[in-house]
Each structure stands twice: as C-alpha cells, then as structure tokens.
Amino acid sequence: MATSSDMVASSRAEMARLSYAEGRKRAAKRRRLLGRALIYVVLVAGAVLFMIPFAWMVSTSLKTKAEAMLLPIRWIPSHFIWSNYVNALFGPVKFVVFYKNSLIVVLTDLLGDVFVCALVGYAFARIPAPGRNVLFLLVLSTMMLPEQVLLVPTYVLYKYLHWIDRLYGLIVPNLLAGSAFYIFLFRQFFQTIHLELDDSARIDGCGRLGIFRHIILPLSRPVMVTVAILSFFGHWNSFLWPVILLKSEQNYTVAIGLRFFQSFMTESANLPLLMAASIAALLPCVIMFFVSQRYFVQGIVFTGIK
C-alpha cells in the first residue's frame, strides 16, 4: 500500500508527464499549422504564376496600342477599350465565318466521336463474332500510329477526292469512328455494365441494337460526357490538319483564322487586337471547361487510370 508521500510524488510525475505530452501535442499542432501555412503559400504563389499569362492577356486586350507597350506593365488599363474586341472580330478578318466553320467541324466530329465510336465500342464489348479479338487488337494498334505518318498520303488522297480546301477532310474520318482511343474507352466502360441488364432486356424482346439504345447508352452518361469533352477540346484546338488542308480564307477554322489574323497584324503590331482575338478563340474552351468541370475532372481521371 502506498504512503501519502508516495502518492503525491507519483501524481506529480503523472502531471509532469501529462504536461509534457500536452506540450508535445501542442508543438506537433503548431508544426502542422506551420506546414499547412507553408503549403498555402506555395500553392498561392504557384497559382499566381499560372494566372499571370491569362491576366496579362485580358489586361492587354483592353488597352490602347500605346499603353500595351508601356513599362512597367500596367495591370489595370487606364481606359477599358472594349471596342478592341469588336475591331478584332468584325474588322478586316471575318472571324464570324471562322467560328461557323469551326462549329460545323467540331459539332459533327463530336457526334461521330460520341455515337459512332460508342456503337463500335458496344460491338466489341458485347456482340460475339468470329474475328472480334483480332479486330480489336487492330483498333488498339492504330492508337500507336503517330498521325504524322498519315500526313503525306492522306493529303494525296484528299487531292484525288478534291477535298483540299474543304472541310470534308476534317469531318468524314471522324464520322467513321476515327478515334481508336474513344472506341477503347467505350468498350472498357461497357464491360463494367452488368450482363444481367442485357438479359432482362432480351426477355422483354430487345434485340442487340435495342439493348444498345435502351440499356447501354442511358447507363453510359459519364463516358459519353468524357468523350464529348475530350472531342470538343481536341477538335477546337486542332491545328496540324487544318493548316495543311485549308487554303482560302472563307474555309478557315478559328485556329487557322487566328494565325491568319496574326500575319495580318504584324505590320501594324496591334497587340491589343491580337490578344482580343486570341481570347475570343479560346473562350469556347474556357466556357466548356467551366460548364463541364464536374464531369471533366472525373472523366480525365477515368481515362488516365483505366
């Protein structure tokens, strides 16, 4: 049995231990807070760095020609020259026509990428047939072929088809399930859908295409949205093929039109107009990004990991 002095001593030791533990805990907490603050500082600094080009672009697009050349950089223009946008887009270069062309190409390509590739992917995922696996390997192997290999011969082919300086060359291959990657994505996704659903649809009298239409497609919103977004960005920003195929101004897409506008501007070096046109050219992508952000991040993750 402990004496009272023993008890006092042990309780004192206990208290010392407690306060020591408390101190350690507090120090750890302080260190965590400090670490967190450091993370914030680095993240914010990086974010500022990443945003500077955009900020400069927007600010320059609203300046006068003279103010755009001043040093130090004035981040907020003394006067906001909104007319730069009007002058850039409706000036000597017909951006309205470029937008029309881009929309035609991007939207039809999108239909091809989403629906035709889905149908092909469905066939590979669900319909048994001789030669299916060999053909799927062929699909995969086309993913490895850099498009530059096809540049010269496709140009020659288009010359014979009289597709040079036409939009067909940018559209038709994509309407024919041109992207092996999207076929692959669809097939992988469809394979995760339970076969029991197909079976019950069959009992209700659905054929292969009925199952695709009524079961598979409605369940595949995530992958369809992902492909639609990737397709939109890909075709909107596409440059290599349009720059080779499109020769006359009335057939330019926005990307090519912007490059044309640049060559138009170099003589007068009108930087604000150039930046205004550039912003207008990438605005659809930015809008698309914010509209679809929720799906987008999830989709990128989906395509990256699988």
């Binding site: 967190r36 993370i39 990443f50 950089i73 496709t154 024919l176 290599l240 930015v286 993750v301």
Partner: protein, 321 residues
C-alpha cells in the same frame, strides 16, 4: 448464360418450323452480321484513312516525288540522305530530343509536386485545381500567340517583371540558346493534365498503408518513398509515355511562335517534316521522315514498357502471387 438465353428462342423456332435455316438466320450468324454492321464505319475508316494511307506512305517514302511529276523510285535513298546529307534533319532531331529531355522529366516532377501539395487536404482545393488545370485545356494557336508575347524581350510579361527587379532578361524565343528552355517553361504551364491524374492516384492510395507504416515507426520521408511513390508508379508510367509521345510531335508552337528560328534552333521534327512536305513539296522525303518519327516513338515506348517491370508496381500482380 447470357448468350444461351439469347439464342434459345430462334433455334426453337427453326426446329418447330422444320426448315433448315441459313447461317445468317442462326443466332450466332445473326450476331456476326450485327457485329460487322456495327463496326462497319470503323472498317471503312480504317481501310480508307489508315491502312491505305499507311501502305501508300511506305511506298512514298521510297520515292522522290513533288506531287506534279510521277513519283520516281529511289529505294532507301531518302533514309540514307536524312542521316548523312541533311544537317537540318539532324538538327531537328537534336532540337526535339533536347526539348523532350527538358519538358518530360520536369513536367513529371512539377505535376507530381503540385498534386502532392493539393493532396494535403487543403481547403479551397477545387479553386486551386481549377487554376492549375485551366491552362492545360486551352492549347493551340491562341496559347502559342499568348506565349509569343509573354516571351517578348521588350514588352513581354517575364522581362517586364524582371525589369522591376532591375534584371535584364534574356531574349527568350528570339535567342538561339534560350528558345528551347523557353518552350520547356511554356510546356510546364500545361502540366495540369498530368497533375489531375496524379492527384486521383494519390487519393486512391489506401490510408491503412500509411497507418500501418506509422505504427511500424516509419517517418514521413520513409512513408513517401516506400508507399506513395510505389503506389503511384503506374500513373507515373502513364504520364511518362504520354509525355514522350506528345513532345516528339510538338508542332504548333514552333510554327506559330518562331517558325523554327532563330537559326533553326527551334526547328522541331514535325515542323521540318511539314516544311519538306508542304513548302518544298518533297513528298517522298517527308514520308520517310514520318517513318523515322514512327520508329523513334515506337522504340522509346517499347523501352519504357520494357523497363516498367522493374520500376512500376502493380498491386494486382502481388495479390495474384
């Protein structure tokens, strides 16, 4: 199960009728028919826009052809000329390699670092994610134009900010020695794509691994190198392959911002290919270049794939043992 359910009905029907049905009326034949009907767009596209052009390209690469006169067969002379008599080709090869050596590893590291910071469960993560990710979705000509002016030695942002600190910045894309580093910096701006993939992978690492390691006394450094890194190697692998393939195909920046200059210091491989084909109209020569590019990308990809067995960790493999 699924297939028998589907096939049960038609077979029964034909037996009841007592008529021998043709192959396409049998369920398996019907499936084959539907399968080929479904993939027919791809088959046509593949034959006309991939296989046909590919075979033609092999032939073109062995000819000398200006699109106007009939092609002249020169066997493998295009290839030998590329490597022995064309200093510009060798230069473009070097320029592209230099760019790849800079942008791919830096892109991997910076992307991972940002993802790690964001994985620290900070508040406002979605805002940061948007900011870091946004530059990677806008690409192409508009971005090239923007960066052309960001790098402008007189009026550009970078030198404008350096000027505040009384530093005289370099000529960036107008300086032979700085042009590729400039392009590498620009490529880092688009690192958001790989960052998002890292982030997803980091968030997929099971927390009980960290807990177990902590109990065993592993400090944070040890946990990072022994758990985090091995667990995300599949994603590192994916980003490495994508980065390599992408950087060997760089084209837009070179054409829009510098048109290969100064002194061909940014003459990227695909830019030189484009010039040979569509400015000098040396179609055969350009086709040969394209096949060299194909082989380079193939070999690099295969090497990375080969190496993956000793540095990429797949959980399923271990579980399978």
């Amino acid at each position: 199960m699924a297939e028998t359910l589907y096939s049960a009905k038609p077979i029964a029907a034909s037996q009841v009728g007592g008529v021998r049905s043709r192959w396409w009326q049998k369920p398996a034949g019907k499936d084959t028919l539907i399968f080929y009907a479904c993939i027919s767009p791809w088959i046509v596209g593949f034959l006309v826009f991939t296989l046909g052009p590919m075979l033609a390209s092999i032939y073109f690469s062995m000819t000398s052809w200006d699109l106007i006169n009939p092609p002249k067969f020169v066997a493998l002379r295009n290839f030998s000329r590329l490597f022995t008599k064309d200093p510009l080709f060798l230069k473009s090869l070097w320029v592209t390699t230099y760019y790849t050596l800079g942008s791919v590893p830096l892109g991997l590291i910076v992307g991972l670092l940002i993802a790690l910071l964001m994985n620290a469960r900070v508040k406002g993560m979605t805002v940061f994610r948007t900011i870091y990710y946004l530059p990677s979705v806008v690409s192409g000509v508009a971005v090239a134009l923007l960066w052309q002016w960001v790098f402008n030695p007189q009026m550009g942002v970078i030198n404008g900010i350096l000027w505040l600190f009384k530093i005289h910045g370099p000529g960036w894309i107008y300086d032979e020695n700085w042009v590729i580093p400039s392009f590498i910096i620009m490529s880092l701006w688009g690192v958001g794509g790989s960052m998002i993939i890292y982030l997803a992978s980091l968030q997929g690492v099971p927390t009980d691994l960290y807990e177990a390691a902590s109990i065993d006394g592993a400090d944070s450094k040890r946990r990072f190198f022994s758990i985090t890194i091995p667990m995300i190697t599949p994603v590192l692998f994916f980003n490495l392959i994508m980065g390599l393939i992408g950087s060997f195909q760089v084209f837009t920046q070179g054409l829009v911002m510098t048109s290969g200059g100064p002194n061909n210091a940014s003459l990227f491989f695909v830019l030189y290919l484009y010039r040979n084909a569509f400015q000098y109209f040396k179609m055969g020569y350009a086709a040969a270049m394209a096949w060299v590019l194909f082989i380079i990308i193939m070999v690099l990809t295969l090497l990375v794939f080969r190496s993956s067995s000793w540095w990429v960790y797949y959980e399923s493999e271990v579980k399978g043992r």
